[in-house]
């Protein structure tokens, strides 16, 4: 070698670069003296006891109260700006919803039960609902919780300048919406004209545009801000330790978004869900590390959305983990395909039927979703949801039958797929797992019908702009929808009624849903009308239903409490709207 004549330098020759490395170490070590590990306040605390700050005794197998710490994870890449539902529903920090109670709650069987309101009744004309607040509820600064807080909150959410991201909700309830909501949002009336009024400190009236029986369930969304704090500091007062105030079971004690958020049991809380936990800690991390953090014992729960198919394989192979995976309904989410039925080729019912019978759900669900995450869907309402098809009566309308699918396609004028225009299935910014599902769905249809379908997975905002455009700019796509409130008037009426989310219209369906939504006094008939409406939906193929998603949470074995209690169908775990479960969770030995 040409360089052999050069004598190799000894190790001291590498001094300069090594000094750089040493600098790294020095930066780590030469630091000011560390702060004490625990505050003096903590050091002065009484020895651990098994009694909560509310005087309630912990279960026999519980760790001492000081160790009642529940640790959850938040996605570090998800933006958030508030804790509070009335400020921004889709942009909330972890541990949201613990700083106030909603007017009502739901039990594990999804029955509406008292929350901040202990009772309610409706006027004779069915339009004015009166909610009676529990007496003695108080904010953490000592201010009593009153109906005026709810009134001020509702008015804030309806104020056009506030631009509430959930304001569509009370508008899309239409006749069931709160009186004057849409006019106030449009700036035609002042917020004081809203049909939500405080009659006195403990009485709140909610007036609807028309008769709307599910209204109490909708009040699951009736969160409240403190009127005083709202006036003094504005709607973001909970995003600061100096101005935060809570009437819920927890108060904010540490706020470092992107790093850590901590809440502790609210000593002034006098509501319906006094927690056994002393503290909840939320640590921000990447979604891909949730499972590793769980395995490392750093967090106590991982939601199913953070678990990959590989994670599920590990979970199912491990007895401890599989017995601690609590599968539940989530928000009764359904994945489905949608069309623009006002334009060719999907204006032709035979084309839609051909597509509906060409999806091999029975294979796609176990092989692509995994059975722990989904069940095949043949209709919109997931079994377990009110008026859902638990008996499988609707299955025949959209079951996989390739021969039948081809008959329909031929009847539509495309025998053997000949001449059928190439299609693009638009996806709403799906992650790899769901993109794989829709790839499989597209492949199933394309293979069965001998047609071409491409997948276009676009940014969510682009997708929603196309979906919401009037007329729609989305010819063929896939989407999912979870309930907004627990009544078929939501998942059938609000989602599928004409002029709503999708470009499909059926007069019989509209008539059935409209009549059923406002029906009082005959729950059996109401239920049957919704069932009939759903039959129309699947038979007329407003959409092609792929799967109902099972949700679930992987809990640490030491997390115990009512979260593990089954509902009447034997389903354990978290249930939507069942806010009091947080009160029943404790950390066992």
């Amino acid at each position: 070698m040409a360089t052999k004549y050069l004598r190799k330098p000894n190790w001291s020759a590498y001094g300069v670069p090594l000094l750089l490395l040493l600098g790294l170490l020095m930066q780590a070590c030469v630091a000011p003296p560390a702060a004490p590990a625990a505050s003096s306040e903590e050091m002065d605390e009484e020895p651990a006891a098994n009694v909560t700050i509310y005087g309630e005794e912990l279960p026999a197998d519980a760790r001492p109260y000081d160790e009642q710490v529940y640790r959850v994870a938040a996605n570090i890449n998800q933006s958030a700006s508030t804790f509070d539902f009335p400020v921004a529903v889709y942009n909330r920090y972890c541990l949201a919803d613990y700083f106030q109670d909603t007017l009502v709650s739901l039990d594990k069987d999804f029955n509406v039960i008292p929350g901040a309101a202990e009772s309610w009744d409706v006027s004779e004309d069915g339009k004015v609902w009166t909610f009676n607040l529990r007496p003695g509820q108080v904010w953490s600064d000592g201010t009593p919780l009153t109906a005026y807080d709810y009134e001020a909150t509702f008015r804030l959410t309806a104020t056009p300048e506030h631009g509430w991201d959930f304001s569509w909700f009370y508008s899309f309830l239409a006749d069931g919406g709160i009186k004057n909501w849409s006019k106030i949002i449009a700036g035609e009336l002042p917020p004081e004209e809203l049909g939500v009024r405080a009659v006195d400190d403990l009485t709140l009236e909610v007036e609807t545009e028309d008769v709307f029986p599910p209204l109490p369930g909708v009040m699951k969304f009736a969160f409240t801000l403190q009127k005083k704090a709202l006036e003094e500091h504005g709607p973001y007062y909970n995003s600061s330790l100096e101005t935060t105030v809570s009437s819920g079971p927890f108060i904010l004690t540490e706020f470092d978004p992107g790093n850590r958020i901590v809440v502790e049991a609210n000593p002034t809380y006098n509501g319906f869900r006094k927690p056994l936990l002393k503290r909840i800690e939320c640590v921000f991390m990447d979604l891909s590390t949730f499972f590793a953090a769980y395995q490392n014992g750093e967090i106590d729960v991982v939601g199913y959305g953070a678990l990959t198919p590989a994670d599920f394989e590990l979970i199912l192979r491990d007895e401890t983990m599989s017995s601690n995976y609590l599968r539940h309904f989530g928000d009764f989410r359904t994945d489905y395909l949608l069309f623009d039925t006002f334009a060719e080729p999907f204006s032709n019912l035979d084309v839609r039927k051909a597509f509906a019978h060409a999806v091999d759900r029975e294979n796609i669900v176990p092989s692509v979703y995994g059975e722990i995450k989904a069940m095949p869907a043949y209709s919109m309402l997931m079994p377990g949801y009110p008026s859902s098809d638990t008996e499988g009566m609707l299955r025949e309308h959209q079951t996989f039958d390739c021969d039948l699918a081809n008959e329909h396609l031929a009847a539509a004028g495309y025998p053997g797929g000949e001449g059928f225009p190439d299609q693009v299935m638009m996806l709403r910014g799906e992650g790899p797992a769901m993109a794989a599902v829709y790839q499989a769905v597209a492949a199933s249809i394309a293979e069965c019908l001998n047609i071409n379908i491409e997948i276009s997975n676009v940014d969510r905002k682009i997708y929603m702009d196309a979906l919401n455009a009037k007329p729609t700019e989305l010819t063929f796509g896939a989407v999912d929808y979870g309930m907004d409130f627990l009544d078929p008037a939501n998942l059938l009426g609000n989602v599928w009624k004409s002029g709503g989310r999708h470009s499909w219209k059926n007069d019989e369906f509209d008539s059935l849903v409209t009549e059923a939504a406002g029906m009082v006094g005959n729950p059996e008939l109401r239920d049957q009308m919704f069932r009939d409406a759903e039959r129309v939906l699947v038979d007329d193929v407003g959409g092609i239903f792929i799967a109902h998603r099972w949700a679930g949470d992987l809990m640490q074995p030491w997390v115990q409490g009512t979260i593990r209690d089954p509902d009447s169908q034997g389903i354990t775990g978290w249930h939507w709207g069942n806010d009091q479960d947080i009160a029943g969770i404790y950390i066992s030995e």
Partner: protein
């Protein structure tokens, strides 16, 4: 030199202007707006109110002029739509502090270790350490940092439980008694540094080997200079030039953060905002980030140009021309 630097600073202003114009108009061309809904449309009147609140109802050129006026005159880059309780400046100041800490340590490790390995490999060509350096370099170049990060987490945190899975002690207090508590620095810096370290090691090895074969090196040897003197005065100094070029490319990247490293190791830094601000169409944040990147790149190139003249006196900046 001063004239050259002044010229470069003036051209920097032009660069920032062009970047601001292109970014502003391009981001407004992307379909979907910051307040487009994910579930259902806002009533048109409500949406109009929000747009008015943020000045988005005005013609786009007016929006640009307003933005630049506030940015230039008041150093006010607006309110981030993602976190309306703070300002873009405050948000960047808070998160960039951590990113710079991570980046600076990564630069030190990558350049320190990469340089050392490269020199050693050059002096011990085809030895086992040369082969090992090549292997590490290939690993660092080919395996993405987030994969390395996951390997490190699974091995050192989950399996061995030697290191914490994530977090970043930004307090500056790393010692409690005799206990070193900044162990959460180790994995992010190592994972982040591996890629640039590999590049630097390869650059260094190639440069050193090249210089070792030059006539002037042989002459120095013939004159009887000691091997360390030859290394410091002749070999390293000449080998540094390509290193400075690498520095200009690597440093701005490291100082603006990595979404993967920061997310995987729970570092509340700047990296994630590059993605979330685009997803959320957070126009003020996008503008500020792109201007920051443009500024950093321009400054780094200016700095490296000046560094060339120090390393190699033959290099002349400005009108005098090069060597």
């Amino acid at each position: 030199m001063a004239r050259y630097i002044l010229g470069r600073v003036l051209s920097l202003i032009l660069v920032l202007f062009v970047v601001s114009v292109v970014t502003f108009f391009l981001m407004h061309q992307v379909p979907g707006g910051p307040f487009d809904e994910t579930k259902a449309p806002l009533p048109p009147a409500a949406k109009q109110n929000i747009l008015r609140k943020y000045g988005l109802d005005k013609p786009i050129h007016i929006q640009y002029l307003n933005y630049m006026k506030n940015a230039v005159l008041h150093f006010d880059f607006g309110i981030p739509y993602q976190q309306p309780t703070t300002t873009v400046t405050a948000l960047i100041a808070k998160s960039w502090k951590l990113t710079v800490q991570v980046g600076a340590m990564t630069v030190i490790l990558a350049f320190g270790a990469g340089f050392t390995l490269g020199i050693y490999a050059a002096y011990h060509q085809n030895s086992w350490i040369d082969n090992a350096t090549t292997f590490i370099a290939m690993l660092g170049i080919t395996v993405p940092s987030f994969v390395v990060a996951m390997w490190l987490i699974l091995f050192f945190a989950v399996r061995l439980k030697w290191l914490p899975m994530g977090g970043w002690n930004a307090s500056g207090s790393c010692l409690i008694g005799n206990d070193f508590i900044c162990t959460d620095w180790i994995m992010p810096v190592v994972a982040y540094a591996l890629g640039p370290l590999a590049i630097i090691a390869r650059y260094t090895r190639a440069s050193v080997v090249d210089v070792m074969r030059q006539d002037f090196t042989r002459t120095a040897q013939a004159k009887g200079l000691g091997s360390q003197a030859i290394m410091y005065r002749h070999i390293l100094r000449n080998a540094l030039i390509p290193m400075v070029t690498a520095l200009g490319v690597i440093v701005p990247n490291l100082l603006t953060g990595s979404i993967f490293i920061e997310a995987v190791f729970r570092i509340n830094g700047l990296g994630r905002f590059f993605v979330t601000s685009i997803f959320n169409r957070d126009y003020p944040m996008i503008m500020a980030l792109f201007l920051l990147i443009a500024f950093l790149w321009s400054m780094t190139y200016l700095f490296t140009d000046i560094l060339y003249t120090w390393i190699d006196p033959r290099v002349r900046l400005g009108a005098e021309g090069g060597a």
